[in-house]
C-alpha cells in the first residue's frame, strides 16, 4: 500500500521536467520497473488517474517496462534468471551469485507537447 506516494513522486518528477521544457501537456511517461522493486502497475495506474487530474499530465499514458531479475554466477560468470526454488548456477552449480538486474525503478522518458512558438527556446 505505498503506490500512492510513489505515484505522487512520478507526477512530481514528470511535471518538473515538463516545466523545464515549457511543455503544455505531458502525453506519455515511460517507467522502468525491475522485478525486485515491489510496485504494482495496476495500483500506480489507478492512483495516476486520480492525482494527475487537473495537472498538465492529465490523461498521460503510463508505459511500464518490466525488467526481470537476473543473477550472475561469481564463479563462472554465467548470467541466469532469478526465479524458482534455487539460486545455484545452472551451469556450474555454485551458490555464489550477484544480483545484476531487477532493481530498476526509474522514469526513462516523457513525451510532451510544446506550442510551435516555443520551439526556439
Amino acid at each position: 500500500m505505498h503506490e500512492l506516494s510513489i505515484t505522487q513522486n512520478i507526477l512530481n518528477i514528470a511535471l518538473e521536467h515538463a516545466d523545464k521544457h515549457h511543455a503544455q501537456r505531458i502525453t506519455a511517461i515511460r517507467l522502468v520497473i525491475g522485478q525486485l522493486s515491489s510496485f504494482v502497475d495496476d495500483a500506480i495506474q489507478f492512483y495516476w488517474d486520480i492525482i494527475s487530474d487537473g495537472t498538465q499530465a492529465k490523461g498521460a499514458q503510463l508505459v511500464f517496462q518490466r525488467v526481470p531479475a537476473r543473477l550472475q554466477c561469481q564463479a563462472c560468470g554465467h548470467d541466469y534468471p532469478l526465479d524458482g526454488e534455487s539460486y545455484a548456477c545452472p551451469r556450474c552449480g555454485q551458490d555464489a551469485a550477484k544480483v545484476v538486474g531487477g532493481r530498476e525503478f526509474y522514469i526513462e522518458s516523457i513525451d510532451i507537447q510544446i506550442a510551435e512558438d516555443n520551439n526556439s527556446r
Binding site: 500500500m1 513522486n9 503544455q24 515491489s38 526454488e85 545455484a88 525503478f105 522518458s109 510532451i112 507537447q113
Partner: protein
C-alpha cells in the same frame, strides 16, 4: 503543436534517497552507527532489540526508532524498559518506513549521546526493501517457524542485506527447517553477508551478533 520525447533517467525514489544520503552523512558525522532492522511480523525484532540493549548495557548507548502502522507503542515501551531511548513512529497505516519519517524522529534524539541507532522497520517482508532510510547497514531478522524457503520467496528483501539473524533456533528440534537450504539462499544473494543463528529466548548465539555490532560501532562510532 509538436510532440517531443525527453529523456529523464531519474530514479522515482530520488527524493527519498537523497534525504537518506543526508541522514547517513549526519549520523556518520555524529559518530552514530545505524541499522535498518527489517523482518516479517513476529520474527522477533523487538526481542532481539531487548537482548541487544541489555547486552550492550554499560558499554554502548542505544537508541531505537520504532515504526508501526498504528499508535500502539508497546514495542518502543519494551525498548525503554530495558534502558534505551526509544521513539515511536506511527506510519499511519503505511507498510514501511521512509527516510522523512526517520529524519523527523531524529529531531527528538540527542545524537551526541548515542553509539548505536536501531531503526525497527514495520514488520513486512515486501515493502521496506525499496526504501533507503539513511542507515549504514540493513539487517534482516528471520525466524525458524517462518520456514527455510523465505530467501527464495522474498528475494528483494533478502538481497542487499549486510547481516541476517535467524531467530528462534531453540525451536529447531520441533519445527522442520532446512538450515543449509536457507543459508544457501542468503549466501547466493549476498556473498559477504554475516549470518547469526540465535535464540532471543535462551540467549544462545546472541554474543556473535553483539560482537558483529561492536565491530561496526568501532568503525563508525569509535
Amino acid at each position: 503543436m509538436t510532440v517531443k520525447t525527453i529523456s529523464i533517467q531519474e530514479n522515482i525514489l530520488n527524493a527519498n534517497d537523497s534525504l537518506a544520503a543526508q541522514i547517513r552523512t549526519w549520523l556518520t558525522e555524529n559518530r552514530v552507527f545505524a541499522v535498518n532492522m527489517m523482518a516479517s511480523p513476529g520474527a522477533g525484532k523487538t526481542s532481539l532489540i531487548e537482548r541487544t540493549i541489555s547486552g550492550l548495557s554499560g558499554k554502548r548507548r542505544v537508541a531505537i526508532i520504532n515504526g508501526d502502522t498504528t499508535a500502539a507503542s508497546m514495542d518502543a515501551e519494551r525498548a525503554q524498559k530495558v534502558g534505551a531511548l526509544a521513539i515511536h513512529v506511527n506510519t499511519g497505516g503505511n507498510c514501511h518506513l521512509e527516510a522523512f519519517m526517520v529524519r523527523s524522529a531524529l529531531d527528538a534524539l540527542d545524537l551526541s549521546g548515542i553509539d548505536l541507532l536501531i531503526v525497527e522497520n514495520v514488520g513486512n517482508l515486501v515493502c521496506p526493501s525499496g526504501w533507503d532510510l539513511g542507515t549504514h547497514r540493513r539487517v534482516l531478522v528471520a525466524s525458524i517457524p517462518e520456514g527455510a524457503d523465505k530467501p527464495y520467496k522474498y528475494p528483494s528483501m533478502y538481497s542487499g542485506v549486510s547481516a541476517v539473524v535467524i531467530n528462534k533456533v531453540d525451536l529447531l528440534p520441533y519445527v522442520p527447517f532446512d538450515m543449509d537450504y536457507f543459508r544457501k539462499g542468503i549466501e547466493a544473494l549476498n556473498p559477504n553477508t554475516a549470518i547469526f543463528p540465535l535464540s532471543c529466548t535462551t540467549g544462545e548465539g546472541v554474543n556473535a551478533w553483539l560482537e558483529w555490532l561492536e565491530r561496526q560501532m568501532a568503525f563508525y562510532a569509535g
